[in-house]
Symmetry: C2
Subunit: 280 residues, 2 copies
């Protein structure tokens, strides 16, 4: 059995603090970086971000859609970016939001979480519209090989509430809570940080989703919404309270818009601000 993802994440958080750098090479950013709208463009962009992030933060999070739009050539670029991040000892979270059932879900786990796979990452974001239990095939494949998942639970986009705050037939249970219960039941971490994480928006009111601190005590939280989307490093403690130590705070635009010349300094400055807040 490999060291668990939760344990590796704990070490990375303790060492580097909570900042996770998103790699979102959308069209406007490629333009402003002077890069072409092509697989070569997203490769160069991704490799530059990895280079700037190496040694400075816990993790990087490539947004898969921006590579996928160039088809197989875009995926080849992403393979190179993931390999470079692995070499640089950055944790890699593939933000792909995959979700299916049975052998198909297992196929996604093979694609992203199997050691030696071309697209190997340390963790994958997955989506539970087919039910939290439908993700079991991916989770049970991931954990024994030291990989993790972040399951979409409670997101900050306005449309999210229409699904995630809906009520199941269990009194007091929202969809977000039901998914959380279903997927964390598959974890094996005990009292340490687990390997089955959740995606929880930085700016949401967790109580509207019925997600209390006790339920989330040992759950890694991937929190988009920091930086350009509004949450600040100071908000991390204010919004996550006793859970703050388990949060990966993901920033994309606020960092990437610094451009190729400014990004390393920007990452260093942002990482230091989070470390300050966390008393690191």
């Amino acid at each position: 059995m490999n060291e668990g993802f939760g344990s590796r994440l704990r070490s990375a958080l303790d060492r580097h603090g909570p900042l996770c750098v998103g790699i979102d090479p959308h069209a406007a950013l490629l333009d402003s970086w002077g890069l072409p709208q092509s697989a070569e463009g997203v490769r160069a962009f991704g490799l530059a971000v990895v280079d700037a992030a190496a040694g400075r933060v816990a993790a990087i999070k490539p947004q898969v859609a921006f590579f996928e739009r160039f088809g197989s050539a875009g995926f080849a670029a992403l393979e190179d970016v993931l390999a470079a991040a692995r070499s640089a000892k950055l944790l890699t979270i593939a933000d792909a939001k995959r979700g299916d059932i049975g052998t198909t879900m297992a196929g996604y786990a093979q694609a992203w979480l199997e050691p030696g796979a071309p697209l190997e990452a340390d963790a994958l974001t997955i989506s539970p519209y087919l039910g939290g239990g439908s993700l079991a095939e991916a989770i049970t494949q991931a954990l024994p090989v030291g990989k993790g998942v972040f399951v979409l639970a409670a997101t900050s986009n306005p449309d999210g509430a229409s699904v995630q705050q809906a009520r199941t037939d269990v009194p007091g249970e929202t969809v977000a809570l039901r998914v959380t219960r279903d997927v964390t039941a598959l974890d094996v971490a005990g009292t340490a940080l687990g390997s089955v994480g959740l995606v929880v928006g930085a700016t949401i009111d967790r109580s509207a989703f019925a997600l209390d601190d006790d339920t989330l005590r040992t759950v890694p939280l991937l929190a988009p919404g920091f930086g350009a989307q509004g949450a600040t490093p100071a908000d991390l403690r204010a919004r996550f309270g006793t859970l703050a130590g388990n949060v990966l705070a993901s920033e994309s635009r606020s960092i990437l818009s610094a451009g190729p010349d400014g990004i390393a300094a920007t990452i260093e400055e942002r990482a230091a601000r989070y470390q300050e807040v966390m008393g690191g």
Copy 2:
């Protein structure tokens, strides 16, 4: 403006009947076909299925996970399979269940629905855990270029109900119905078959999801669950009633298990049985 996806689907259904052949090259099927566990294996498998399906059915539906597990090489194989299907005048539905928000969702639409994209398909399955409205960027890109989507709504896997039958704050509204309302509101079809479809399990009780026939009148329905999963051609009319004419009945295992030598005859026989039921 191109001919809409709904209109093209209507023609294909009228001509060939409802059968949609799934292309699911999972490990066990590759073995039984005598093909290697590699991108070459899934390419050969996919091309053989396209060849057998050409001229006999309305559509093929590659299950993207089984290509994705081989990384960029698997996607290159899928590009070839999609191109072959296009040349053979088969409608192509990429079963990828992508789902995200904003520019990221737009990235997925570019990847799969933009004319000329390497992975171009006629329609893409998409997943609404982030809310039906979150999918708007994909839908508004797809429709003007003659492409369609099938949004996960009410599925037949046992875990699906925990999310899809949950109740929103609108009386009588399930998550499945809310998603349906949100996404079909973005369609432009009027009284003809639309281009914003739903994935609805063949074996579900639609009333448990509050999905009534009036709501679905002009909505294309992609129904997995035929064949090995239990629903028969005769069930199509029994289960879908007046909506049966808008259903793509997807079969995978029941057809693919015929092997490379038997698949063409099996498709022909299955297609004929559906045509009979539909009075074609």
